[in-house]
């Protein structure tokens, strides 16, 4: 008897919980749009489809469903780190089976050789190639995302990919210093804090140096206010090239801002193109096919006779 009561009670409790949860599922609709949008704004928006998805947004959707974050060669290691931070995932190296991470490039058409076939313009995901049929084509380099998609369709191979020169923001000509060298000397900092009172803009050079690879932290520490006076370099007992590291950080920040702006623009162009393509396709589909046209002509002829 007790066993029966026990079983029954447990079943009833379980059933009640299940019913309540079932009701709650219907009440709380899953809101996955917001997270996809957050991932999408971090992707480089080259629309190059190297990840195996038709564009950046489809890949963002796939990531939000658990796809690996290391399939984007244009984004490279920086993107993987950013996504790992955002989603709380593990940092993994770039999966090179999807392509190598290359410096930012643009396509340039050797215009003397172009035969005006328009195949590249059709392939371009952001409508950055202009030119009428049988006429010379040209790439609007400002809008080109360097996705390589125009290379393959070109029948005369007249498109080159050219590495874009990055603009340098270096008002003071300090010796250039790279990240690996800084990583080696970072343990030279003894946290003495001598640099802090030396700063005429009342910044915290020590903190700036320690967080030099974290853009958000740098912004809250007002890196932009640094006037690169080199007073902190002078007082540092370990001779750490602080100002040079701040310049490098500013350069990275500048490049990041540039690529973000470019990504936003490319995304807008890609979406406009998608809308245009679907509009044209709808029109083509609405057009009567050959059979229908012929039968229509026959019908009209019969009516006349």
């Amino acid at each position: 008897m007790t066993v029966l009561i026990g079983t029954l009670t447990l079943t009833i409790i379980g059933g009640l919980c299940a019913a309540l949860l079932n009701y709650a599922t219907r009440y709380f609709k899953t809101n996955s749009e917001a997270i996809i949008e957050l991932i999408n704004t971090r992707l480089p928006q080259t629309q190059c489809a190297q990840c195996g998805y038709p564009g950046c947004r489809p890949y963002a959707e796939a990531i939000s469903k658990g796809d690996p974050i290391n399939k984007c060669p244009p984004g490279g290691t920086a993107l993987i780190q950013e996504l790992a931070d955002l989603l709380g995932r593990e940092q993994v190296p770039l999966d090179t089976s999807y392509g190598e991470s290359l410096p930012p490039r643009v396509a340039v058409i050797r215009e003397a050789e172009c035969i005006g076939c328009t195949l590249c313009a059709i392939a371009c995901p952001v409508d950055a190639i202009i030119g009428a049929p049988q006429m010379m084509h040209s790439v609007i380099s400002r809008d080109c995302t360097g996705c390589d998609l125009c290379l393959e369709p070109c029948p005369v191979d007249c498109i080159d990919m050219i590495v874009v020169k990055t603009v340098e923001v270096r008002p003071l000509r300090l010796p250039r210093i790279d990240q690996d060298a800084l990583d080696l000397i970072q343990y030279d900092c003894i946290h003495c804090g001598l640099c802090e009172p030396s700063c005429p803009r009342e910044l915290a050079p020590q903190a700036l140096f320690w967080h030099r690879t974290e853009p958000e932290r740098l912004q809250s520490l007002n890196l932009a206010d640094c006037i690169e006076c080199r007073l902190c370099d002078r007082v540092c007992p370990s001779n750490i090239p602080l100002t040079a590291s701040f310049q490098a950080a500013k350069q990275r920040q500048y490049e990041l801002d540039q690529s973000r702006a470019k990504a936003r623009e490319a995304q807008a162009r890609f979406e406009r193109r998608q809308r245009r393509v679907s509009r044209v396709q709808a029109k083509v589909r609405a057009r009567p096919n050959k059979q229908d046209r012929l039968s229509m002509i026959d019908r009209l002829r019969n009516q006349k006779s």
């Binding site: 009561i5 409790i13 919980c17 949860l21 709650a24 709380f28 809101n31 709380g88 320690w210």
Partner: protein
């Protein structure tokens, strides 16, 4: 009222569930990587723990005891907690999708957070009233939250600290958790 205050302070500081009774160490180590996710985890656990205490009290006193089914206590409590965790997961997924991505696996793991079941069972053992049970659960959750967030803050600071190579990773986390626990021993004996 003062009784409630004693229970609250007792569970937060003196008998802190993580640092003194060593319950719920899995999320304490797992979800303390970043302070944001720690706060999310703390909020979710607080929600589950407080509700679980109230619900388990009602279950115990209006169902299990009248029917002489005390031997089913653990399994019914677990079913109840699992349902509450599922509910919390749904709420988080609907309202905070980013937090859901970050916490991911750790939300269902609240079910196996022994602090949740432990508090529900301790409520029965101490023969708390409904109000006392809720305060006890809420205090336990606050203590858990505080320790989790403090530990996450410590770990965030450690990322920029110059830690000797052999101590990096899990080792330094264990050491700092141990030091934090030692600090909590200072509260022992405050309410006798």
């Amino acid at each position: 009222m003062s009784d409630a205050l004693v229970i609250l302070l007792g569970t937060i500081f003196v008998n802190n569930f993580v640092m003194v009774q060593f319950l719920g160490l899995c999320p304490f180590m797992g979800a303390s990587q970043k302070i944001d996710s720690a706060i999310g985890m703390a909020a979710a656990t607080t929600f589950v723990l407080t509700l679980a205490c109230a619900a388990s009290y009602l279950l115990e006193h209006y169902l299990l005891q009248p029917l002489n089914l005390e031997y089913l206590r653990i399994i019914t409590f677990i079913v109840l907690i699992a349902a509450l965790v599922q509910f919390a997961e749904m709420v988080i997924r609907a309202t905070q999708p980013l937090l859901y991505q970050v916490l991911g696996l750790f939300i269902p793991l609240i079910t196996t957070n022994c602090a949740v079941l432990g508090v529900a069972l301790l409520n029965v053992r101490h023969q708390h009233s409904l109000f006392q049970s809720i305060v006890y659960g809420f205090g336990a959750a606050l203590g858990f939250s505080m320790v989790l967030i403090v530990f996450a803050a410590m770990r965030e600071r450690q990322t920029s600290a110059d830690i000797p190579k052999p101590f990096r990773g899990a080792a330094i986390n264990m050491i700092s958790a141990g030091l934090l626990s030692l600090a909590f021993m200072g509260f022992t004996g405050m309410n006798g």
